[in-house]
Symmetry: C2
Subunit: 225 residues, 2 copies
Amino acid sequence: MSVEIKISLNKGLYLKEPQDSKLGRKMIKHSIMLIEKFGFEAFTFKKLAKEINSTEASIYRYFENKHLLLLFLVNWYWEWVSYLITMNTMNVIDPKLKLKIIIHSFVAAHKENPNVEYVNESKLHNIVISEGMKAYHTKDVDSENSKGFFKSYKNLTTSVSKVISEVNPDFKYPYALATNLFEMSNNSIYFAQHLPKLTDISLKENKVVEVEDMLLYFTNKLLKK
Amino acid sequence: MSVEIKISLNKGLYLKEPQDSKLGRKMIKHSIMLIEKFGFEAFTFKKLAKEINSTEASIYRYFENKHLLLLFLVNWYWEWVSYLITMNTMNVIDPKLKLKIIIHSFVAAHKENPNVEYVNESKLHNIVISEGMKAYHTKDVDSENSKGFFKSYKNLTTSVSKVISEVNPDFKYPYALATNLFEMSNNSIYFAQHLPKLTDISLKENKVVEVEDMLLYFTNKLLKK
DNA sequence: TTTTTTATGATAGTAATACTATTATTATGA
DNA sequence: TCATAATAATAGTATTACTATCATAAAAAA
């Protein structure tokens, strides 16, 4: 008995909606596992096919190529975080508190329910942290952007920027701050894990709490009137 | 008659120092041009070989693979920015002014002299903006980090963090801010060019000036006592 | 200057990747 | 049950990311 949520994404991201079939959901599930484990570069449709006892050809019927699959996953994550924020800030009036909840969602989204059977949110978050930016750092950004492939990210940061403006209507850079909160959140976790000299976060035991505190500190100071 | 600077990098980044031979310098020069033009994914040693009238085999004698070549270029950039900052902040006592110069170096490094014949700094900056993060978002980060392949980046951010601490010794996150200034600078330029909805920067005529103002605004507010 | 060493070029070859195409088989649902 | 759609099985191609070998040219040492 679980809450049923289906996240619907831009139709251009897939050839055939993977969430609507058993095989498609297996593709999502195991691509997340493989990409998280071996990294996006080492990930191939052949390996995924083997993992799910299917064939390359079948996967190509769902996704144009592995880049579009990554975009699909990352979009799913953006939509999911948006959904979480909407749920968790519902009925919350104080914009400062809303922002606090948003920041918590950025660093600890994977701890939240409800969870979808075919998506391991924690692993997906790791993918977003390690590989996420590759989704929009390609020579095709402009054409993909015009097809609306980054709509979910824009919606997410736009809604965050609105809360920022609620907290301080005079703040000149609500969009940049919103985007930066998301990026900095992911970067800080990544750096703490792999390049600790680039951050002040230790990330031993109390993991992401430090990142959360930092983002909160930054935000409060920046939005102070 | 130009100032001769040779940036020396971690020896593990190359098999044979490309800056020491005519052919090697051609590799640097034309890899920058090709990567900037077609993107890192589409870049191959075969194409580079054709471009410089050499062979794949010869390139492989200099660089282990294209990822290491990218790392070489990005390291070169980090070292070069460090060098610029050192030069431009020499004899500057006021830490706030130092930080201002640092921020200017981050957004407008490519406008600076002295320039090296085989490196188009402007194009290299574009590569760092568009592809830079791919240099440290791989499954090999940890092993590459242990070989010192990110030393230049760490040195750069460490020196910036010191200035930050000079401005405000009580600020708790000097490293994170230093790193974030660099990353945000590049991201903002990238977003303004490709995903303008993610930023407040317009980037029409007066280009990077807006980014510079924003980073300065953020920094001042964050470091205010 | 001749010899030796080193750098580069020319060429070939291999395993893996990123696909496309075709045909057979199995579900599903009208 | 028949038709339609989904998947599997298989094969094939161009490109990528290399490695290996040998010839030749250029630079350094003798």
